[in-house]
Amino acid sequence: MYALIVFLPLVGSILAGLLSLNNQDRPAELVTVTGLLLSLLLSVIAFAEVAIGGTPVTVDIGRWIVSGDFAAQWALRFDTMTAVMLIVVTGVSSMVHIYSVGYMSHDNARARFMSYLSLFTFAMLMLVTADNLVQLFFGWEGVGVASYLLIGFWYKKESAHTAAMKAFVVNRVGDFGFALGILAVYVLFDSVQFDVIFAQSSLIATTNIEFLGQSLPALEVAGILLFIGAMGKSAQLGLHTWLPDAMEGPTPVSALIHAATMVTAGVFMVCRLSPMLEYAPFALDVITIVGAMTAIFAATVGLTQFDIKRVIAYSTCSQLGYMFFAAGVSAYPAAMFHLTTHAFFKALLFLGAGSVIHALSDEQDLRNMGGIWRKIPVTYAMMWIGSLALAGFPFFAGYYSKDMILEAAYAAHSGVGNFAFVMGCLAAFLTAFYSWRLLILAFHGKPRASADVMAHVHESPLVMTFPLLVLAIGAIFSGWLGYELFVGHHWQQFWGDSIFILPTNAALENAHHVPTWVKLLPIGLAASGVAIAVLCYAVFTGLSAKIAALFWPIHLFFFNKWYFDELYDAIFVKPAVRLGHFFWLRGDRDTIDGFGPDGVSALVYRISGACSRIQTGFVFHYAFAMLIGVVVLVSWYVLRFKG
């Protein structure tokens, strides 16, 4: 039965793919949505049995790659962490499937779209149920391809297929680290199986490994290499450049893949590997710092963007940073908690943004919005709920999970922990600011869209608003419901063996006993962020432009996303192409061919001058040379034995 959770979406995807050959959109929608809803139902059962009931299960399917001691099996592992992810993935995915029926209704390749969505879901489920690193990699690459296909779904659009390729290639850079990490783990443990790795981590905590001519602490090397993979998939600072561009895909895709599920795969991996990473303190510090840097970096960029989806994308990037530094200070349950709540409210925000875009005839620029809140009240309310949850207002989902993370960072009482705490608090302030900037610009003020567009503004149909309502319930209650279970004093009982924390890394436990100001600070910062946003954009409408003009270098720096794209273009992309041309023309053509065959042939031409015979001569010469060889061989034999 558990295997069905994973394979139903695959079946749906294949069927929808076949149906797309004949453009049978409605049946394709039906089959994929049904598959997902069934999968969701089974996931809920699995969650009850595995997580609440505390009975982890592994479903063996068969051998995959076995060579010598290297053995990667096909097997599905269901423990608490998987069960949580199952709910998140199938929950959000089924809502997105339903929403897409409405959102894509004007598209003429709906069957293909639904097929890709289900394919993605299958790959994501393979990822979260993996019982070894290689199968995790299978899911990892699978979601990457699905993401590539979906970002480039409107393949005729230049910007869409450019973004699709960028996403795949940047992710591949991360995968480069992931693959090496798998190799390191295999060499260390003689296995890629999670159970074996986790059981033996404590034994080899002090072992060194030969890496690039150095002798380095083994688990640190493996941990950091694997984390590079996580950085790619979860768009962490340095490998984040693909995520904002990925917004070229249809909005349901952004909600499912680039907010709720795929981008959290990196966080999931880090938490999954907690039994190993606990013995790699340096790797954890790296994770903390990268996470904290990403949280603040993305928030600063989010302040200045005008594309509604990009603002939310940077917000996602920033929130992923929170999850990473939570994991980095060993508060894995807090990271998983935020992952879960974030999935609901961020999917809600994206789908809400989609509804806005839909209402405004595909307008995405905040500068051309405004004054529509009365016309689309449901969407407006949903965006409020999502923003309140994101900013962490009391009793909304984000309040429980984000504050838990900040408290854990504070309670880690380490240098990197404090750094993460400060960055996290600053980012919390910025988050509230850009969220309300978005709300005000999108919904309030005078309408800035053309009269023609404004005339068409309409609330979305039920098939789109229903998923919003479901997600809104999650965005409101998931924090309150999950708090005790996920990160309460008895977290160990819930998570079982799926998360391991060394007794000395007690950030999570200590987080319950931080001073009151630490608990109140994030709320205060969020409130002031909202207040300032309201001042800048609603009360004194010209203020934001003045501030931007006053601090123009900083604004420009943020607005241009810290110039990462330009930098990478200059140091990687352009040199690679130039080097390719250089190797081809100077290396292959001039050097190798010049001195090799072409040089020799020129010589031959000059000596023999028998150009005319060349055309028929080769085969003959060749056969002749061969024949000579045989003759020599035979004559040698004759001389030797007869003579």
Partner: protein, 501 residues
């Protein structure tokens, strides 16, 4: 009863018998062309069916050679007619018999002049390929190994593109150099061991100094075939000029002759030299992976780009073989079979659009997806297989090679793994430029949709690539014993295995 049949000889010479059929076809040009195509297709398809006998009858648990045949040939000289297959050669035999009918089908419409001669060349080529893989006598191996190139010369030189003479000449120069050196080495080996029987040569201990020279001689020949950097420059030209089917076989089977040679000769016969030269081969392979990937980025000709990608992929093969551990060799073998399928399919992908637009310039295309959506699916799948997506055969080989490489040297693994990034870059870029975007021209807009014949070529390839990606054990189990044999042989010769896993 079937046990007593000389099944390998039958498979080897069945295509040659088809050549006789082709020779006796009479009639006007159209009839000859039509009948030649059909005869060639049926003969090669039948050969494939017969070759399934060795797949079914093959006992993967048994050590040594199976379906062995040995007959007196040149008296008591130690030279005999000797055939047999083990886990290393059997997959290649199947690969050859599988790809040949597909290649013939691929040339159905694109070859219109001298069809009979073309088909003769292909069937002759098939016999030589199979013969090369099943030979257990060094002299036989040599004859087949060199004879394979004659029909390929003709296919490129007669039915090739405008610069076919240059390409064939280049091919000739490279190959000749290698062959001469290999022949000299074979002579020396015969003098030393008194036999050309391959199993006996494997157990013969050549003096260490001699091994070095022999290794170099064989290396010269095999490295050109692989091809390894810097003797790879014949390949892009040969591919560009060759007709589609020629490229399919060239990339699909002929490139594997080098890797097969390393596994059959260099490793088991010259273990010390192999160990000694491994670092050099690692360096050349890493250069191949990075250098040719970058060069592939710079190409504007689709075929040339895929040709360069082949060089990069074959770099993985040589890395795997010379990391001299189980995963490395298994990975290299797997990579060769997988590349055989995937690159053949990719060259066919180019062929499909070339048949319609008669150009290989990437810039002439754009937006093909909108015109040929089903073609886009196949091309996408093969493109992803080429970049090593897990779930396709491309992943298994690369992963195992990397596992093997890491155990040999972590720098090696690091550099080889850059292929993951670079490979994705040039393949995705190619796909994007050809398939995505708006339809660039009226010519592209009017490209006709895929035909049944073309589905008939894509489907089997797609199914196999997917099958080996999900259940690679079908192949790994077959190779296991033979790889173990090579490793035991290396250990027995006292080569300090880099990692004895």
């Amino acid at each position: 009863m079937i046990d007593n049949w000389p099944i390998l000889s039958i498979i080897t010479f069945m295509p040659l018998a088809g050549v006789l059929f082709l020779l006796i076809i009479r009639g006007d040009d159209d009839t000859v062309a039509h009948n030649s195509r059909n005869v060639a297709l049926w003969v090669s398809a039948f050969t494939f069916l017969v070759s399934l006998v060795i797949l079914i009858g093959f006992d993967s648990g048994a050590p040594g050679y199976q379906f062995e045949e040995q007959r007196v040939w040149l008296g008591d000289t130690g030279i005999s007619y000797h055939m047999g297959v083990d886990g290393i050669s059997m997959p290649f035999v199947l690969l050859s018999t599988f790809l040949t009918p597909l290649a013939i089908l691929a040339s159905w419409r694109s070859i219109t002049n001298r069809v009979r001669e073309y088909m003769i060349a292909f069937l002759f080529l098939e016999t030589m390929m199979i013969g090369m893989f099943v030979s257990l006598d060094m002299l036989m191996f040599y004859l087949f190994f060199e004879a394979v190139l004659i029909p390929m010369f003709l296919i490129i030189g007669v039915w090739g593109g405008p610069r076919r003479v240059y390409a064939a000449f280049k091919f000739f120069l490279y190959t000749l150099l290698g062959s001469v050196l290999m022949l000299v080495c074979m002579l020396a080996m015969y003098i030393d061991a008194g036999t050309t029987n391959i199993p006996q040569l494997m157990s013969h201990e050549f003096a260490r100094g001699m091994q070095t020279w022999l290794f170099i001689g064989f290396f010269a020949s095999f490295a050109v075939k692989v091809p390894m950097w810097p003797v790879h420059t014949w390949l892009p030209d040969a591919h560009v000029e060759a007709p589609t089917a020629g490229s399919m076989i060239l990339a699909g089977v002929l490139l594997k002759m080098g890797g097969y040679g390393f596994l059959r000769f260099s490793l088991p016969m010259f273990p010390f030299a192999s160990e000694f030269f491994a670092p050099m081969i690692f360096v050349l392979s890493v250069v191949a992976v990075i250098y040719t990937s970058l060069v592939a980025l710079a190409q504007s000709d689709m075929k040339k780009m895929i040709a360069y990608s082949s060089v990069a992929h074959m770099g993985f093969v040589t890395i795997g073989i010379f990391s001299m551990n189980e995963q490395g060799i298994a990975g290299a073998m797997f990579q060769m079979i997988s590349h055989g399928l995937v690159s053949a399919a990719l060259f066919f992908c180019v062929g499909v659009v070339y048949d319609r637009l008669h150009t290989r310039e990437i810039s002439a295309y754009g937006g093909v997806t909108a015109v040929m959506p089903r073609y886009a699916v196949f091309f996408m799948f093969m493109m992803l297989a080429s970049v090593g997506l897990p779930g396709t055969s491309g992943f298994v080989g690369e992963m195992l090679v990397l596992v093997g490489a890491w155990q040999a040297n972590t720098w090696l693994a690091l550099f080889a793994a850059t292929g993951l990034v670079l490979g994705a870059t040039y393949m995705l870029w190619l796909y994007r430029r050809v398939m995505f975007g708006r339809v660039v021209s009226a010519e592209v807009q009017s490209m006709e949709r895929m035909q049944m014949r073309e589905y008939g070529i894509f489907l089997p390839l797609t199914i196999l690539v997917l099958f080996f990606g999900v259940y690679p054990m079908a192949l790994l189990d077959v190779m296991d014993v033979s790889i173990q044999f090579i490793l035991d042989d290396l250990t027995a010769s006292g080569v300090a295995l880099l990692v004895a896993r």
